[in-house]
Amino acid sequence: MSLKYGVLGLLKGEPLHGYEVKNRFEAMLGGTWDVNIGQIYTTLQRLERDGLVRPAGPRGDRGKQLYELSPEGQKALDQWLAQPDSGPQQLHEDIYVKLLLAARIANGDLQGMLARQKRAYLQRLRDLNRLEERARRDGRLDLARLVRGALLHTEADLKWMDELSSERFGTEGAKTE
């Protein structure tokens, strides 16, 4: 996701300084997000340069600067929110390419690879289930919703493994063209 719009979205409610933006982000995403404070400051500076945020009042304690959304920033955020995520499906896990390559190289039985991947997905489903339970128990609905999305995605990955298994993927020999 875009850090730029994430920051704009958090500034929508009230002016915040960089460290608060990071904390709000972490609270919302429940520790599933790995951006450091340096990236937040850089992002805020660029957003200020582009006129999307502006300082709210003078620098305070230890040079802390509050930022608020500018009217342009508000407009950019509204447009981003209104825009559906389209464009290509993002496939960034190795397995997509790994399976295709292995089918060419091994030129044979991929059932073992599919079975191992399937197990990994089952374990991930279990981990996600436990995380969702914990999030709900702790009243962290944002995180629970995020985990639910991840659960359904992993379920789809698992179904893909089953489909490949049942079509005896790999055993027909990989086409080289």
Binding site: M1, S2, L3, K4, G6, L29, G30, G31, T32, W33, D34, V35, Q39, T42, T43, R46, L47, H92, Q111, A115, K118, R119, A120, Y121, L122, Q123, R124, L125, R126, D127, L128, N129, R130, L131, E133, L143, L146, V147, A150, L151, L152, E155, L158, D162, S165, S166
Partner: protein
């Protein structure tokens, strides 16, 4: 792969003195006349006491056949099935029916409650067949399953979730050593299905051995620490899943992109 996934070492549940075997299938084959659907082809597997095991597989894979054989509802073409040390193949029809009634609880997708009996009467049937008056046990189950206030209703006046609770209570009235569930959430909406699964999970925490057939991997992995995958009548995987507490970022990670330029 990052090495965090270790399958085959973790064992869930079990008694104080380690594991003891409750179910054993040895080289079990089931052939159906006129088709391969649901057939089993040389299955061997052991289920430990106290385990919550899920059997997964596509329709026609043989997963329900496996459950029906363990329940003694059907007999294998070859191979042996032992439940609680009893070889089911050595029992005659009456003996098998008695064994089912006394030791096996079965929950089905479509409840199968008798329409002209109340919820309570449905629950009491298996006990009455044993000649037991089990009203105290029934009251306990009604309370545990949260259906005390609908005990005198007929099935037609119960919601799907309530009907399945009644079916679970009926399955448990004789304190079975083994609870079998074939797609118990299949006819329920997501929320009600989760409640029924929570209920099974609660029973498991109290020590109930459960064998669940499902096609829902989310539900299976939520409650069962062991997942057996069946395909074309064979066991293709038997995974014992780990249950450690993981930091959220070790389970999912949201990626961010920095502002360009």
């Amino acid at each position: 792969m990052d090495g965090r996934i270790v399958v085959g070492t973790f064992r869930d549940g079990g008694g104080e003195n380690g594991m003891s075997e409750l179910v054993r299938l040895t080289d079990v084959t089931k052939v159906y006349q006129g088709g391969l659907t649901g057939a089993l082809n040389g299955i061997s597997v052991s289920i430990e006491k106290g385990e919550f095991t899920a059997i997964m597989g596509p329709s026609g894979s043989g997963k329900s056949t496996m459950l029906n054989l363990v329940a003694g509802l059907d007999r294998p073409t070859s191979g042996t099935i032992a439940v609680g040390g009893t070889d089911l193949g050595k029992l005659g029809e009456a003996g098998l029916a008695r064994f089912r009634r006394d030791h096996i609880g079965f929950v089905f997708q479509f409840f199968y409650l008798l329409p002209n009996l109340t919820a309570l009467e449905n629950i009491l049937i298996p006990a009455q067949l044993m000649g037991n008056v089990a009203t105290a046990r029934a009251a306990e189950l009604l309370d545990q399953l949260g259906i005390t206030d609908v005990a005198d209703r007929y099935p037609a006046r119960l919601s799907g979730g309530q009907q399945q609770r009644v079916a679970v209570a009926r399955a448990l009235i004789n304190n079975p050593m083994l609870l079998l569930a074939d797609e118990p959430t299949g006819a329920l909406d997501t929320h009600t299905g989760e409640q029924v699964m929570e209920l099974l999970a609660g029973l498991h925490r109290q020590g109930q051995t459960i064998l669940l057939v499902t096609h829902d991997a989310k539900l299976a992995t939520r409650h069962a620490a062991r997942v057996i995958s069946v395909m074309d009548g064979k066991i293709v995987d038997d995974a014992r899943l780990e249950s450690p507490e993981r930091a959220p970022s070790d389970v999912i990670r949201v990626r961010t992109e920095e502002v360009s330029r």
